[in-house]
């Protein structure tokens, strides 16, 4: 593995893995404590619509996917703040329609068609320098937001009604969490793909949740755990010539199983 690091694409892959994992750990924590996992899944799949549009109009893929995902996040935020009890129906709808739009626009694009699989399952070995900038900027933004507005985010996540009574702008922070989730999903598409991203957002978080007694420690612990899984997954992918995204997820899932077993033994 060490000798592989002399290749630029390998360095990029590693760096992208680190940046994305850490962002996914932090945002995944917010998604899990806010019970938005299904919602994040919806945004992830919808963003394929953005990829299709970007391909058709010749825009940068990241830009198209980001705009589309943020649009979906805003739509979901508006709908769920109004009609919370019908939320699952809306998410299912947006989930499928977004993908359908993506598939149709890729069909309509003349000539060479992009490799659908690389977006569904990730293509970490094809990370460009611009991609890395985008990922680093997003991680920086997430870190700034969660440290400076930690108490508002905590209050809204723990008890939104009470937070509202204490003067916290619940709508704003709820929407903000969704937008950051959408952007995180977009950068994670490069690493694990839009189908597998949900595992990356939840498995490290589940482990971290059991070991933390505050949201802050949970966010950073799951960032660290996610990074570890990504590194091991990448090593596995390189050594046995497997798809990187799937390797990362399998490593995560196996680790979770091991963790649960050990946890049970310790507590019994």
């Amino acid at each position: 593995m060490i000798e592989a690091l002399q290749f630029e694409f390998m360095q990029h892959a590693l760096l992208a893995g680190l940046l994305v994992s850490f962002a996914a750990g932090i945002i995944g924590s917010l998604i899990v404590v806010n019970r938005m996992v299904f919602l994040a899944g919806g945004i992830a799949h919808t963003s394929y619509g953005g990829i299709g549009l970007a391909v058709y109009f010749g825009l940068p893929i990241f830009l198209g996917a980001s705009l589309f995902a943020v649009g979906a996040a805003l739509l979901i935020a508006a709908l769920t703040l109004k009609k919370r009890h019908r939320m699952d129906t809306f998410i299912g709808l947006i989930w499928a329609v977004g993908m359908a739009i993506g598939v149709i626009f890729v069909d309509l694009t003349p000539g060479y068609n992009v490799d659908l699989m690389s977006y569904l399952f990730g293509s970490i070995l094809a990370v460009s320098t611009e991609d890395l900038y985008f990922m680093a900027a997003l991680l920086a933004l997430i870190l700034v937001v969660v440290t400076l507005r930690y108490r508002d985010i905590l209050a809204v996540s723990y008890d939104s009604e009470y937070a509202g009574l204490r003067g916290v702008n619940v709508r704003f922070f709820y929407t903000l969490i969704l937008i950051l989730s959408a952007l995180t999903v977009v950068i994670a598409i490069k690493v694990v793909g839009l189908i597998l991203v949900i595992a990356m957002l939840t498995i490290p978080v589940y482990i971290a949740e059991k070991l933390s007694n505050s949201l802050f420690s949970m966010m950073f612990l799951s960032g660290a755990v996610a990074t570890l899984f990504t590194l091991v997954g990448l090593w596995m992918s390189y050594t046995y010539d497997l798809t990187s995204g799937a390797s990362i997820i399998i490593v995560s899932a196996l680790s979770l199983g091991l963790f649960l077993l050990l946890n049970k033994k310790v507590s019994s």
Binding site: V33, T147, L148, Y150, R151, L154, A155, S157, Y158, D159, E161, Y162, A163, G164, L165, R166, G167, V168, E209, S212, N213, S214, L215, S217, M218
Partner: protein, 289 residues
Amino acid sequence: MNVLEIKNLSFAYEKQMVLEDITLTVEEKDFLAIIGPNGGGKSTLLKLILGINVYKKGSIKVLGKAPKNSLTQIGYVPQNTNVNTDFPIKVIEVVMMGHVEGKRPLFGYGKHEVLCAMGALEQVGMANFAQTKIGSLSGGQRQRVMIARALCAHPQILILDEPTSSIDITGQREIYELLKQLNTYITVIVVSHDISVILEYANKAAHVNKNLSYHDISDRQSTFHTHGNDGHFCEIELLQMLGSDSCNSCTSTGSATNDTSNTSTSSVTDSNSSVSEPAEAKQQWRLKP
């Protein structure tokens, strides 16, 4: 001074009338119990007082101002504090959520906020649990923490929605004893199903079932103490006494005597006594042989 004044308030969700022509006045240091059947509008009334729901007809004045403008004066303990128990959060962090927006440091919590939260925890007897994860507390302990959170902003009114619905009997007593202590300097409003317990501590009772009927029961407390069954009444009986305008079939069970140490004007006798006059007509209810 009146801390809460509600006049001719009506409220409807879409087309269904929930509250109709409610008038209620709460004075300083009152302990008001709001009782009534499920779906009778108790929680809706609270939400109107807290400014969560917006009313169209009538008026609500909290400390002389509209509900939205006096939120900082109200400490609120919501129903169902058992949800979200997996949430990784320490007791002290929950309490500090009670602080109102204002001066605060760039990151984390200010020293004065921590001190204030610890003070509130001290008041409810939970200071030793400050660093504990909220999920590992019992229902009663968690309820105390929620009361501490409400006290954090130094409110003049404390409003609790079904504070003891998921706590065992001993825990319930402890919560009410705590409320009684707090009542020496804070106005307390409690919504509850626990009629018999609540009436032991409250000095006023309001029965809400679309309409509201109001009773001053401050001079009745001794009567409740002398009732058998550890102060427990038959709930239906009480609901009838407090709620219906034409209640004339109420019966009281157990033997009760007049408590001479109290300025009670009621006369409660042995079983099978009934109320001959409508409770409403006298503005306070009477049990007559």
